[in-house]
């Protein structure tokens, strides 16, 4: 897995929560979400996620990220209101840099940690050393933070076994890998087995077990679902509404379920038609849509993915769909930019413009209980 893929794996989660409140969400769930403080729009988050992944793969500069994000914000009719010019304003360089740099740095830190804790790497280099990698005008006192978190010093150096909980304890994000805090300038160096033994960090012959990784190659712990009255579950439902779901005995993001459906697995119900959607219809058409739900099956998605994803897209008027585009279907269903009549009687096309110059089209049969008919991405007509 690459850092770019790691970012794309995260589920889009829009919410009013600020960064402090997000830090209160268990790391196992938080790390699987792509979010930004107080951003609710799926379109903005989708743009930020897809563009961040391109920065992580080295295909896009941070400046181009800002440029394209401002276009996405324009499409979303974003208005910072009285936050204009502050770090809460998504149009500012500072906020956009924060979004991309944090996401890319965390994904890269994750990938390097995953690699550094495989069996061979752990044998050769069982320990990390916390080191300053970038100078800061006013550096924080990391030695004190290390000591207060229970860290030990070896020859004045902050060294611990890679799987030691100290790494999570010193992190503002609850992760055992950098970045450990906003703009900290701290990073990790590797300490080899012989040196670790010599310094007394580990004993001769001590074997460090690799951390548990789930079948998707993820390090995060799963958050168990303990029932509808569990205070943790109620707190999450209160904060995230229907974006948080339980999948068997684990709590998950609905976006993750959508990602599964986009891979052709399972199915998902996207809830009843909203007033925003209904406002685009009138008369009998509106009556047909009222109180109807949209459901998608993996089979249906696989069928459309086989026509419109990647190299399968043969229509020159279209842009190939990316896996992440399927995650915008719930937003298209709830809050489309426009609704136009489809080619066939009883069909409607729900549309949404995207940051990459495309228009997502979800075609439904609104007279047959919102049956999905097609999903593809059109190129924006010239001159728009």
């Amino acid at each position: 897995m690459t850092a770019s893929e790691k970012i794309l794996q995260k589920a889009l989660v829009g919410s009013k929560l600020d960064s402090r409140m997000w830090n209160g969400i268990q790391a196992g769930l938080r790390d699987r979400a792509f979010f930004s403080s107080q951003i609710e729009s799926a379109r903005i988050l989708h743009s930020a996620r897809e563009l961040s992944s391109r920065v992580a793969s080295g295909d896009l500069s941070v400046s181009d990220f800002r440029l394209k994000m401002r276009h996405a914000l324009y499409l979303d009719n974003y208005d910072p209101g009285d936050r204009r010019g502050t770090v809460k304003d998504l149009l500012t360089e500072k906020r956009l840099d924060l979004i991309v740099k944090t996401n890319v740095a965390q994904a890269r830190g994750y990938i390097q940690h995953l690699q550094a804790t495989n069996e061979g790497a752990l044998l050769a280099y069982p320990c990390y050393e916390l080191v300053r990698v970038a100078e800061r005008k006013q550096p924080r006192n990391w030695a004190a933070r290390w000591r207060n978190a229970g860290g030990r010093f070896f020859g004045g150096r902050m060294i611990a076994v890679k799987t030691d909980p100290i790494w999570t304890r010193i992190s503002a994000f609850g992760n055992p890998f950098p970045p450990f805090d906003w703009g900290s300038g701290m990073g990790l160096d590797e300490v080899g087995y012989a040196e670790a033994v010599k310094l007394g960090v580990i004993e001769r012959g001590e074997k460090i077990e690799p951390p548990k990784i789930d079948f998707n190659g993820k390090l995060e712990a799963t958050l168990p679902f303990k029932g509808h009255n569990d205070p943790e579950w109620l707190r999450l439902k209160d904060a995230f509404g229907d974006q948080v779901v339980y999948n068997g005995d684990a709590i998950a993001w609905k976006g993750e379920i959508m990602q599964g459906v986009a891979r052709g697995e399972g199915s998902v119900r996207l809830g009843k038609s909203t007033q925003t959607l209904l406002s685009h219809f009138s008369g009998l058409d509106r009556e047909h849509l009222e109180n109807t739900s949209l459901s998608l099956t993996g089979e249906w998605v696989a069928q459309h993915a086989s026509k419109h994803m990647g190299e399968n897209e043969k229509d020159p008027h279209n842009i190939p769909l990316a896996a992440g585009d399927f995650e915008l279907i719930p937003s298209l269903w709830r809050n489309p930019d426009r609704v136009v009549r489809g080619k066939y009687a009883g069909s409607s096309v729900l549309t949404m413009e995207t940051f990459d110059g495309g228009i997502l089209n979800l075609v439904i049969d609104h007279r047959s209980g919102a049956m999905p008919l097609s999903f593809y991405k059109q190129k924006m007509p010239e001159g728009r």
Binding site: T2, A3, S4, V55, A56, S57, G58, D59, L60, S61, V62, S63, D64, R66, L67, R70, A105, R108, G109, I111, Q112, Q115, A116, N118, E119, G120, A121, L123, A124, Y125, P126, V133, A134, P178, G187, D189, E190, G192, Y193, A194, V197, R204, G205, E206, K207
Partner: protein, 185 residues
């Protein structure tokens, strides 16, 4: 992506697979590359008045290695690193010219980003000249030099020398073998 071949010992300790040893060697290469790029960050020369970009630190953070048979593949997923390493000519993709910042205030910024915000730039392109400028409409400060293309020489010092990477890979393998033998005692 680069491939580096390292020598592995003929005999492995009991319970150690060649795959485990390859993972250790690949990690050794990773350690060498990351340390090298961090050093490059701390010694990189900076244009007078310009902020430190953190470019090479970012490159260090984007480094990944994976074993590939008896070799280790090194990937640095940072835009422009391949150009630094292999060299080449850059042509504009979206506009008609490449913009090179002349003023620290626009370092790391695409001119379209500035114009998109305030339509604040004016173009100066003298007749028959191979290059032009973008200036700030308000202050008349020259912000960017505009050129049709830029040529870059290959710079193999972007990565450590093969010998340095191989030495760290061999040290990693020696450490892994020692750890395995000690654990079996």
């Amino acid at each position: 992506m680069l491939k580096l071949t390292v020598k592995s010992p003929a005999k492995l300790p009991d319970g150690m697979t060649s795959r485990t040893l390859s993972l250790a060697a690949a990690q050794g290469v990773q350690v060498a590359v990351v340390r090298h790029l961090r050093r490059r960050h701390s010694t990189a020369s900076r244009r007078a008045g310009f902020p430190q970009s953190g470019y090479w630190l970012d490159a260090a953070a984007s480094t990944a290695t994976a074993p590939a048979g008896d070799a280790a593949e090194v990937t640095v997923e940072k835009e422009g690193v391949a150009l630094h390493y292999y060299g080449g000519t850059v042509h504009p993709v979206t506009g008609k010219a490449l913009a090179i910042p002349l003023d620290p205030s626009v370092a790391g910024k695409n001119p379209r980003e500035l114009n998109g915000l305030a339509d604040s730039l004016a173009l100066i392109w003298p007749k028959n000249s191979s290059h032009g400028f973008l200036k700030d409409k308000d202050t008349s400060n020259l912000l960017y030099l505009l050129v049709g293309s830029t040529r870059h020489k290959a710079d193999r010092s972007v990565l450590p020398e093969d010998g340095e990477m191989a030495a760290e890979a061999e040290s990693a393998m020696a450490n892994a073998i020692m750890a395995m033998e000690d654990a079996g005692k």
